[in-house]
Amino acid sequence: MSAVTDTRHEGVERGWARGAILFAGMAALLAITGATMSWNVALTVLNMGLVSGIMALGVNLQWGFAGLFNIGVMGFLALGGLACVLVAMPPTGEAWAAGGLRLMAGLALGAGTVVAAVLLWGRMSPGRARTLAMLAVLVGGFFLYRAVLDPAVAAVESVDSASTGYLGGLGLPILLAWPVGGLVAAGGAWIIGKIAPGLRSDYLAIATLGIAEIIIAILKNEDWLARGVKNVSGLPRPVPLEVDLQASQGFVDRAASLGLDPVTASTLWVKGLYGLLFAAVLLILLWLAQMALNSPWGRMMRAIRDNEVAAEAMGKDVTRRHLQIFILGSAILGIAGAMMTTLDGQLTPGTYQPLRFTFLIWVMVIVGGSGNNFGAVLGGMLIWWLWVMVEPMGLWLMGAITAPMPDGLWLKDHLQDAAAHMRLLTMGLVLLLVLRFSPRGLLPER
């Protein structure tokens, strides 16, 4: 029946048209922001929007392609952020001298204990002896590990704890931290995948959430690693400092020739550079994801998502594929996390909260349209734009409501006090509206 094929084809074309229109709409939103507020705001939003798009892409890979319900997004972003510190900060020589090597030895011991236990488990035949032996290895290993590690940690952390107190990084260019962030996150994902390969749906979700919380707890409390809650600020940047540009005569002249003052020109220029970097990464990842989705590999993944049992019976190694896509998606999240930390210029473990760094990303994916890479990216940019814009929108809304009320009315005061909370309320309303009109997301999976 050719009619069927025709309607499908038409559907595809309509999908493209819809995508083009929506992306144009997104661009228009940013343009309006730029024109009415300022181009600096628009670029700020755009940059983080691009990063959000990458985050959404990562989640979409896991959820939209393979149906893996990962709500530990936050943890992988944080691992990416950690990579920035480990790669780009200068090493703290004194801390290394104080106990760096011992610390490394302690860590190696810890890892060795786990490996030994796992090997033992694999080698010995099942039975009580095996359980006992493994427990002995683990407990013994744990105490040994603590005995080696604890003094080293104390030594490292006591080195000028107000400004360093940690081992520092490798002092390499920060751009290198992006792929490394991906690798670190991938490593984390590999471990999770090895530990919990059988978990599905909400049970996997809560496990990933738990692991994210554990990662954050480590980041917050292991000061020797990245200063814990004392934060690492002043990360090197991949782009010049605005103040340096403002101080450079050449730049000022060029800005003047364009009719811009140095401050505006330098801030816009720097944001533009960031934007280009982010856009490049986004495009590469988007291309890779798109190619993967539209290949036999993507087909296999969708089959697994649709029906694991049947896919397994059709010879697909579901566990391995899940692990693969979990790692890939997490790696993308790690890259995005590193990019975000680079943009912030600091690592602040205390700021990683599930609402912002997990659930908001999920909102992006679902609103954009899960299973559709372009949808995820669009959702990332749109929801980010909203997240930032709902604040003025909420204030404006409250202003509009209270304007006709007489001054001094208690309700007016009450409303104005609550104005800040219009932010989330507006976010909720817009979210509900968007989902009302496109319940399967803005760009649904075909």
């Binding site: 530990i195 909400d202 049970y203 496990a207 219009m422 976010m427």
Partner: protein, 337 residues
Amino acid sequence: MELLNALVALANYVVIPAVAYGSQLALGALGVTLVYGILRFSNFAHGDTMAFGTTIAIFFTWAFQGLGVTLGPLPTALLALPLGIAGCALFVLGTDKVIYRFYRRQRAAPVILVIVSMGVMFVMNGVVRFMIGVDDQNFADGARFVIDARSFRDATGLDEPLVLRLPTLITLVTAAIAVALLFWFLNRTRTGKSMRAFSDNEDLALLSGINPERVVMVTWIIVAALATTAGVLYGLEKSFKPFVYFQLLLPIFASAIVGGLGNPVGAVVGGFVIAFSEVGITYAWKKVLEYLAPTEALEPSGLVQLLSTDYKFAVSFAILILVLLFRPTGLFKGQSV
């Protein structure tokens, strides 16, 4: 004596607080698990539903207190609870009518409903703060303690105190009653069974003459009742603050999931698992060991703490993951859509 002291210390600092916290989580988790079991989505707005119901109950509590109506030793809030439940039920039913029903009719995938519930969460978030503000509200009155530290010490002559708070006791009793009722309701009554049937196979439920709107309505009313009760009891024991109620969401979810989603007994057991692992694992055994050590020399020098409290969430999550490794759909074989 020393042994008694050790036991009392353990009870006072680990067992009773964990039981109290556990039953609070359990009540919250019952609501989450019910929405999941019947309506098939994880309701992110549950924390804020609790806050909303509690807010209304607090307003009525204040009104009663203003009028001088009290319950004697029991907190006045209990009197206001039914009104809070009613208000909350009205609100969630409204929410369902305006929002959720649309997606149900659309047969939207549950994950869409999850995100929709996040939208509802944001809105309720604003509404609650608009109504009662962001601050701590203390609305407890009546007796605070069943057994307080001083009278326990005086009565027993022990060094260690044992404290039992009235709200703790009420929460525990309520949680026990709630789970029994819910279990009975779902497994024994016609309406309850029809709700399970609806959750199992919506189309077939329809073909059996089950009215889906009624099922949904009953579900929401029960959820509102559970949420408000949980919120009020938590507020009585600790205090009410919207942000904390939002934060309660995570441990509540963890409880529901570790117990097995959709299973009321699982929710309760899950609540205790989470509470005990949070409170118990990081306990410093120093005090207990001091009482137990036969001679001074054997008393511990350090804190004898397995892990510092910094890691209490990490530990409770680690335990959760461990449980899931051995029981991939929770302790009580929960559902998995």
